[in-house]
């Protein structure tokens, strides 16, 4: 397991928010490496449906994850406006395919509310909490749970 990138203090921290379908999500800005326009990915065989495949990010092989699909929603059909956010999750870099990036939020941790019980287990495991700003509901993604554990192939 990786360390939480976010320190739970009352300090302000910044989050990048983005849209997945009609919902808004965000991640800590410190985990974001870059945001890129969509480019077709090379399909990976024998991989879960939310894995879009891999792309070349300046010489590194970067897996692209369909965030909507990962959260149990319908697969995103990429358009010209679709982007992927390159984030560092543990020691791996992944690209999260999202519909659009909205803005940068500056919040303190007391604004983060626990995820309501209503949500299904899938969603709850990926969401750190919910932030309410200007009447919007933005869910913060917990990055270290997004990628499957490296399967125990070596073991």
């Amino acid at each position: 397991m990786t360390e939480e990138i976010i320190t739970t203090t009352a300090e302000r921290r910044e989050l990048i928010s983005f849209r997945v379908g009609e919902q808004e999500y965000c991640v800590d800005i410190m985990a974001v490496r870059e945001i890129r326009g969509w480019s077709p990915a090379t399909t990976l065989p024998q991989s879960p449906g939310y894995m879009r495949g891999v792309i070349n990010l300046r010489g590194a092989v970067l897996p692209i994850m369909d965030l909507a699909c990962r959260l149990g929603m319908p697969v995103i059909e990429p358009t010209v406006r679709s982007v992927f956010i390159v984030v560092k999750a543990g020691d791996r870099m992944i690209g999260m395919l999202v519909d659009a990036v909205s803005d940068i939020l500056s919040i303190t941790d007391d604004l983060v509310q626990p995820t309501p019980d209503l949500a299904c287990d899938t969603v709850r495991s990926f969401i750190r909490g919910i932030i309410s700003i200007d009447g919007r509901m933005i869910s913060e993604i917990s990055l270290d749970r997004l990628l499957p554990e490296r399967e125990a192939l070596a073991a």
Partner: protein, 767 residues
Amino acid sequence: MDELEAIKVTFFQECEELLADLEGGLLAMQDGNDDGDTVNAVFRAVHSIKGGAGAFGLEPLVRFAHVFETLLDAVRSNEVPATPDLVVTLLRASDVLADHVSSARGLGVVDEAVSAAMAAELKACTDPNAAPAPVAAAPVVEAFEAAPVAAPADALIGADDALDDDDLGFDFQPMTITIDEQAADVAAAVGNVWTVSIRPKSDLYRKANETALLLRELARLGPIEATLDASAIPPLDQLDAEAAYATWTVRLETEEDETAIREVFEFVDGDCDLEITRGEGLAPDAALAALLAGDAPAPAVVEAAPEPVVLAEAPVVVETAPVAAAPVVETAPAPVAAPAPAPAPVAAAPAAAAKTQQIDVPGPGQSVIRVDPERIDRLIDLVGELVINQAMLAQRVGEYGIAPSSNLAMGLDELEQLTREIQDSVMAIRAQPVKSVFQRMPRLVREVASMTGKQARLVMDGENTEVDKTVIERLSDPITHMLRNAIDHGLESPEERKAAGKNPEGVVRLAALHRSGRIVIEVSDDGKGINRERVHSIAIKKGLISPELQLTDEEIDNLIFLPGFSTADKISDVSGRGVGMDVVKRSVQALGGRISITSRPGQGSTFTLSLPLTLAVLDGMVVDVAGETLVVPLAAIVESLRPKPEEVRPLGPVGSVLAVRDSFVPLIDVGLTLGYREASPPPTEGVVLLVEGEDGSRAALVADAIHGQRQVVIKSLEQNYQQVDGVAAATILGDGRVALILDVDAVISLRRREPPRPVEPTLIAAE
């Protein structure tokens, strides 16, 4: 503590080199080159190991090295003749010494019985010829703590003072040598002034020690003023080139006590007469005393008591003082002027050292940079990206239809060339000579030969052939196996060889060379060659081939690579443990290599192993499968063909096979196996790649189209994701897209399982 550990690591690294030197020297002696040079180099190697080991208190190692050293010393002074038998004994002793080093390093355990037996054998070799010297060899061996054998005065080496090339000015007249700028500070309190008189015996030089280093060490304690008394040097015609004549008197100002001063000399204990006096001392030579100011309290003569070598600094002195040690001791630049009645005649031993070591030790002029391998790896990654980027750029420009004669196109061509050159140069940085692997082999050959009762001599060639670090690490196993095989199966017993009119000692040759961008390792023997009739009948008996099959000689030879094949009549200790040449072949293929054998009855066999120079790039066939681009490693591909309808035969409900000449090979649709498509198109519409897995099983992979051959840079999928079944790695093509490199073996074995079903998104349960 960390520092000590670091020094220890360096010591063991040096031990590796010294052991290699030792073995190399002994092998040279075995080849009849047993002049003083080689013997001295051998002696020095053991001596240095002993010295270093003493510093770290590695008792068992020191003890064994001492016995070994004693015998070598006797050999060196011709007290014990270096007969071929003795050299064999010495070689075995060097193996035991290597074991001791490994054990001291915490890698393995020394067989105490073997070590004790070896030590006894060494002693037995030394004893009967014990030196007529004041200190006999035998007692020394037993009482290890005593000083090493005192040699007869006319022994060897002993270039007196090759003290030039240094900040120590040197002349043959008594004179004052100032090492430290503050040396002239005569005002220092008498309590802090010491007078050290050093009179080296010829033994000191024989052991490759050096007075300059001692003075240097003294200078570390405080300002020194050294005076050389050369009055004992006889006229040139009476001069014994190997005797020691000079005496130094050193005035030392230091806060340290006598123990600290004595520590400087601990490593040369017994090899020089040492007098340490508090205050301004009287030099033994009255004439010298005049040179020194101050009072002259009665010199308290302290005899250097023989003690075990336990000083930490000593080995470091010899090995690391770069200015003094390297040029003087190791590479011996012409020591001082010849005309003078010098105590520095051209030193036999240092010159010898230079001769034997010139290949290994970079001269003072060459400099070596030590670089963290990770930095080089990073550089290689970056250059890999550069290559990809350059290819992308070229492709994009090509899409615009630029004329090949335009400046832009020509500039791109130049860029491509430069990129290639950079890539080659960077790969060359990581390249290493195969020597590191080869040098472990002589021992293996000796051991295998003695285990199998054969006589074998190893001849090595091309040790300096360079190959990428990634490959070198994986050469050792196949070479070991091939050598074992050559001795165990290839060579005949000495009796058989004599009967066949051959030299009873068989020759096994290990060679490395570059050939068309690959490294080729050849292991050949001059044994009986492959008994084709027997191989053929065994293969039939074991059901590996059908009896009707007509095979060429070459095909029969290659049967030995089949899994489950072993020709040894009796299962020997060495080979035939169920791992045969098939294992070698598999591991070689896993590296993208090939292995083959040629054999001539009665004259021997040659195994040829060919490997890529690096594991960072790979030659692959680019193919299209269900709209995806895949790379199939070229090493796995036997041939590619377009199947005719009559060659494709259905087998069972879904499967089909391809008739290739006389055999049937299962057809595997890559797209279906990897889950790219649900149903396979007829194989006749595609291209078939006939591949061979690591276990020798063949399969016909169906692809949609072939784009051609390309060298690709291997990229890891695991770094950011995880391993994927059927995929070995990824690469980036000229258009910037990622292409997957097919894992041929995995595809073959995936096919054997049930067809893949669509994978449901797996969800990780919340805690």
